[in-house]
């Protein structure tokens, strides 16, 4: 249990998707102009990561990693299909996003109206594929750890984007030099936030 909590907290603060690895920056910069749109996108990312990382973990464990196919027949135990990972993960992510969009549209039109536009945008978000690839690299031992990692990465991304949106809303009233306005100052502020988040590096759980 405490292993799960440690993975969760680590993936939110220490291995933050945005500040440590810069994944998902494209939509992060484009959408963070207001807090409202940022919370929508952030929630969608948590949702999608929480579903796709466990799904990809199952695919990796039972189909792709070296020796994985031995449940089909012991003869295939020597196979290593990990070169297929990229294509498999992307296919799974795209399908799950499509599925989630349909399910949300049916069961909660209110949620769909606030989230719906962002869901297709998320399918090619670097953070989603990155979450699955990091999970594959970390070689977790069971699906609980993979799920917790996915949810934690999503929450970390959510914190980052809501934080920068709040700062950008306030920055509109500041006296930023013209060439720095908009994109330039956002980059610098994100860098500073990244430095701040590094204080978490020393946490031992």
């Amino acid at each position: 249990m405490e292993n799960l909590i440690s993975i969760f907290v680590k993936s939110i603060f220490v291995d933050n998707m945005i500040f440590a690895y810069f994944l998902g920056m494209c939509s992060y910069l484009a959408v963070s102009k207001t807090v409202k749109t940022s919370t929508g996108l952030g929630l969608a990312v948590i949702f999608v990561l929480g579903i796709t990382v466990p799904a990809n973990y199952l695919i990796d464990k039972y189909l792709l990693s070296p020796g994985a196919l031995s449940w089909v027949s012991p003869l295939l135990g020597a196979l290593d299909l990990s070169f297929l990972s990229f294509i498999m993960f992307i296919a799974v992510i795209a399908s799950i996003v499509q599925l989630v969009e349909m399910v949300i549209e049916k069961f909660s039109p209110a949620l769909y109206n606030s989230l719906g536009i962002f869901l297709p945008l998320i399918a090619v978000n670097c953070a989603i594929l990155g979450g699955s690839l990091f999970m594959q690299e970390a070689e977790y031992t069971n699906i609980g750890e993979a799920t917790v990692f996915g949810l934690g990465s999503g929450v970390g991304w959510f914190l980052a984007i809501v934080g920068i949106a709040a700062i950008r809303e306030k920055l509109k009233y500041s006296n930023v030099p013209a060439p720095l306005r908009g994109l330039g100052i956002t980059f610098i502020v994100t860098g500073l936030m990244g430095i701040a988040f590094m204080t978490f590096m020393g946490i031992k759980l």
Partner: protein, 113 residues
Amino acid sequence: MILLLSNLVVILSAILVFLAVVSILVGVLLFAKKKLTPQGEVTLTINDDKEIVVEPGSTILQPLVTMACFYHRPVVAAVHAECVNAKFLRVAALFWPPRSTSLRAVSKPKTGV
């Protein structure tokens, strides 16, 4: 020779695994589409005289643009004026089973649009 055979096994199993996973995904998606999105057609009545039949879940913009081309009526302008985010308009089946949805032009379309 053994290398060729073992390579063949890898290639075949890669193809099989890929096909299997993609078929399962496509099957799940089609199944979900059948169960979750409302089926049948929705009739749009525009400006009280023109009726078009569209499927639910498609965007309004495409059939309206086609109409605007054919009838030189600024139909699209009226829709723009009404809806907040015209880019992602969805025709939802408001009633089940689907009935007619009336879309009225509530303001005069802008001239020159």
